[in-house]
Amino acid sequence: MSDDHDHEDEHLHPPAPMVDEVSEFEVLEIAVRELAIEKGLFTQEDHNQWTDYMHTLGPAPAARLVAKAWLDPEYKKLCVEDGVKASLDVNIDWVNTMPTKFGTPSDYCNLRVMEDTPTLKHVVVCTLCSCYPRPILGQSPEWYRTPNYRRRIVRWPRQVLAEFGLQLPEDVEIRVVDSNQKSRMIVLPVRPEGTEGWTEDQLAEIVTRDCLIGVAVPKPGITNNAKRPVRKAINPYKH
């Protein structure tokens, strides 16, 4: 009887969820990966190689491209005309840099560089999913993937940019560019005042990921994205 009584107590006061309980996502991820390897669809070595490739990615090459374009009008022209060719000068080959040697299996190979002017501001979205120029810009930020950003930026761009801290005068036209499976975009912002005589390295430092997406503009002295809350992972991946 006392045994029954204990069980009843448990029902009245269910135990707090175990924090170290493995999630269904984790279980399924391991299962899928191991099955794919067991069935010979890919090897562990393939998986490791792709992870290593991921570790090489980030916004640095795109920032470098912008800095070079600011310093060299001919190169800027090339960026706008042929972003893929211009990428070679910042060591990104859209076909051969990745382990496949046939381009990224999800991104394809067309980069478009959207040039801002003092009266025209570009901002990038992917309304249908979260297409992003990973080879030259790294992984997309979480907010870029949210339905909320994708819903609103195309319809209320001025308001959404203001939420990111970018308040543009009414006479600046905002052009929202929608990425897609075949074409990925980065923004080539206007070179800010106060950077006269700067080196390429100095210039590249102020071209942040947010500037390259278009939700911020470069400013002397600002070398990081705006501070935002960071949602913690339960079991974080260590880069």
Binding site: E8, H11, L12, E21, V22, S23, F25, E26, V27, L28, E29, I30, A31, V32, R33, E34, L35, A36, K39, L41, F42, D46, H47, W50, T51, M54, P99, P105, S106, V125, T127, L128, C129, S130, P141, E142, W143, T146, P147, Y149, R150, R151, R152, V154, R155, Q159, E163, D178, Q181, N225, R228, P229, V230, R231, K232, A233, I234, N235, P236, Y237
Partner: protein, 143 residues
């Protein structure tokens, strides 16, 4: 007091009830005269086509990546590298075919992961039983 398995079932049903999309009008298989062409088009649009939908401002956040999220991304890319699926197929499966509830309700890489599991079964690389057994075996490692 309900037995534990019954409690588990009731909790499941409660959650399922809560995650039904709020459509703000009578639903649950209406008669044909209640669906005009505008509604037909709205219902048959793909759930990922969200551009221009009204929404309220939210806090823009950065996010740490879970280990399983990183691995899911890599697995999906490598499956494509090795020819198991192509980009068009991935998009259709991850974005279009999941349905509104899962599209909006699961984490970004959660959809990728479900899709990767389904492709192995759909293309008969593994049977549904093999997948179930594997999942059970992995779960036991953590017990």
């Amino acid at each position: 007091m309900l037995p534990p398995i019954r409690q588990k079932v009731m909790r499941h049903l409660d959650i399922v009830g809560l995650i039904q999309p709020a459509l703000h009008q009578q639903t649950h298989a209406p008669s044909p005269d209640m669906i005009d062409n505008a509604h037909f088009r709205a219902y048959t649009r793909s759930p990922h086509d969200v551009g221009g939908e009204p929404d309220i401002p939210i806090t823009w956040e950065e996010k740490e990546e879970e280990v399983w999220e990183h691995n899911t991304f890599v697995t999906c890319e490598v499956l494509a590298w090795r020819g198991v699926w192509n980009a068009e197929e991935r998009r259709r499966r991850q974005n279009v075919e999941v349905g509104q509830t899962q599209y909006l309700g699961l984490p970004y890489y959660g959809r990728w992961l479900l899709t990767a599991a389904k492709i192995l079964v759909d293309k008969q690389f593994v049977t549904a039983t093999e997948l179930q057994d594997k999942v059970a075996e992995v779960r036991r490692r953590y017990e």
